[in-house]
Amino acid sequence: MIEVLSAGALATVQDLGRTGALNLGVGTSGAMDPLALAAGNILLRNEENAAALEIPLFPFRVRFTRPTVFAVTGADCAPQLDEAPVLPWWAHRADAGQVLALAVPSAATWRACRAYLCIAGGIDVPLVLGSRSTQLRGAFGGLEGRPLRDGDGLPIVATSDRAKTGFGITPPGLALPLEVDGLPAVRVLPAAEYDSFTPSSHEALWSEPWKITSQSDRYGYRLAGPELRPQRPMELRSHGIVPGVIQVPHGGQPIIQMRDAQPSGGYPKIGTVIDADLWRLGQAPIGSRIRFVLCSWDEALDALAATRRWLSNVRRLVELYCDQGAVR
């Protein structure tokens, strides 16, 4: 069991998301940085989709009531176990009663904003519509469909103690860098209304930095930058959308739909951030700036293959190390 001592705000139980329920009006939810969650699980020899805690705001403190093997991935939030520093992206064993504290992330070599507390076995909350992710709007999934509160107790799936401690992984933020003019970048495929925007709007989309304003959260990121203008006003019918869709409402400031966005919308869409780069967005802090990069279908699929390859390489090496105690 994990006892929440200091929940911060907006910490939720997430896995890799809830698929197959769009026909019920239920969006995917899931980790904003699915790569950090999956990698943390692989490090602990869980299945990739085991449930973990997503922590966007700090400080955050929990107590382990039993000996627990854990890892903190995502942003480097100077984790401390009973006030002694422990490494990020590293498998540790906590004794019963030990307290894990996470602080505001530092950006020494990689600027990131969300941390993931992964546990050997995974967080044991019920599967709802096939997933343990928190569905905030519908108030189900995760822990009672809501963010964590001080005093919450989170059960852990019993595990056969396969996880090994004392080693770690180099974060993908460093291993899979993507930058344009010194800013983190994400690749975008044009969407249905792309051609309906003015040429100067296209120019602005690809050439200008976009700031993630403070009105940004799991539902969507509101960006600040040049005004994007359609050639003529557009009234669209409600249609399905997915995380990554860049909508442009009246006012011309784009909103990137994120994991908890409505699964349908009616605003013009200028593009969609590719699935393979959503984790980069998930780690872009409020106040930071990003760049958009136009890519092709093939490049987008190549990017997806690259992240899959990275994960399977992590799995291969972790299993080799844990089984043999050595890597040759």
Partner: protein, 219 residues
């Protein structure tokens, strides 16, 4: 729409969006339902999700060559017969106006109609459920009388409650859970549109219909 052809576009590498040509009609929607049924069975498709005269097709795995899938969707579109709108019909008791209908006055101001006229016009039709979306259990309805159409609010309300009956542009709908909305709320209902403990969890599905029954009108 200035074209007679369906439009296919990408939603990243996650889905294809199929927009039917022409005006938004129930007949077109019935063809969309038929297309969704067929598309949902195609290899490589995870889910086929109707919208308002359109269909989002999510990939199980994005195919390197999409042409095949796109071609098949167009072929199916031309081949399918519209499904009947023969689902069940639900009578929804509504308390119009009062605290549950905080924007009734705005609809009155925009339309020039009285509260009683608005209630009569709103509750007259049988509304077909075109699609589910927006939030768990939410139904996109077709069939509202244009006389009571009222533009979406300039400033969305941060939280309207579950059961809010609202008008947004030329559409009407009922919120299935608390949440933000830019629509004009004219009444409230007690019916639960989504219960995750229930099988199926959503109360209604495309092809079902709703009739609003004025229970009380508060002024």
């Amino acid at each position: 729409m200035t074209t007679n052809l369906p439009q296919l576009s990408l939603l990243g590498t996650t889905a294809l969006l199929f927009e039917a040509p022409g005006e938004t009609t129930l007949t077109t929607q019935r063809r969309i339902w038929a297309l969704a049924l067929e598309a949902g069975r195609l290899p490589g498709v995870r889910e086929a999700v109707p919208g308002m005269n359109n269909l989002m097709v999510t990939f199980a795995e994005p195919p390197r060559h999409r042409g095949q899938l796109e071609h098949t969707l167009i072929e199916l579109w031309h081949a399918v017969e519209p499904l009947p709108a023969a689902g069940r019909c639900l009578d929804l008791p509504v308390v119009y106006g009062g605290d549950g209908g905080p924007h009734m006055a705005d609809v009155v101001a925009h339309t020039g109609l009285s509260v009683d006229d608005i209630v009569t016009i709103h509750s007259a039709p049988t509304y077909t459920v075109y699609a589910l979306g927006s939030h768990p259990g939410y139904c996109y309805l077709g069939g509202m009388d244009r006389r009571i159409a009222t533009p979406r609010r300039k400033v969305p309300v941060l939280r309207i409650p579950r059961g809010a009956v609202s008008i947004g542009g030329s559409q009407t709908g009922v919120s299935a859970s608390d949440g933000p909305s830019g629509w004009n709320t004219i009444g409230s209902t007690e019916v639960a549109f989504f219960d995750v403990e229930r099988t199926p969890p959503a109360l209604l599905q495309p092809g079902d219909c709703i009739r609003f029954k004025p229970n009380r009108v508060l002024r």
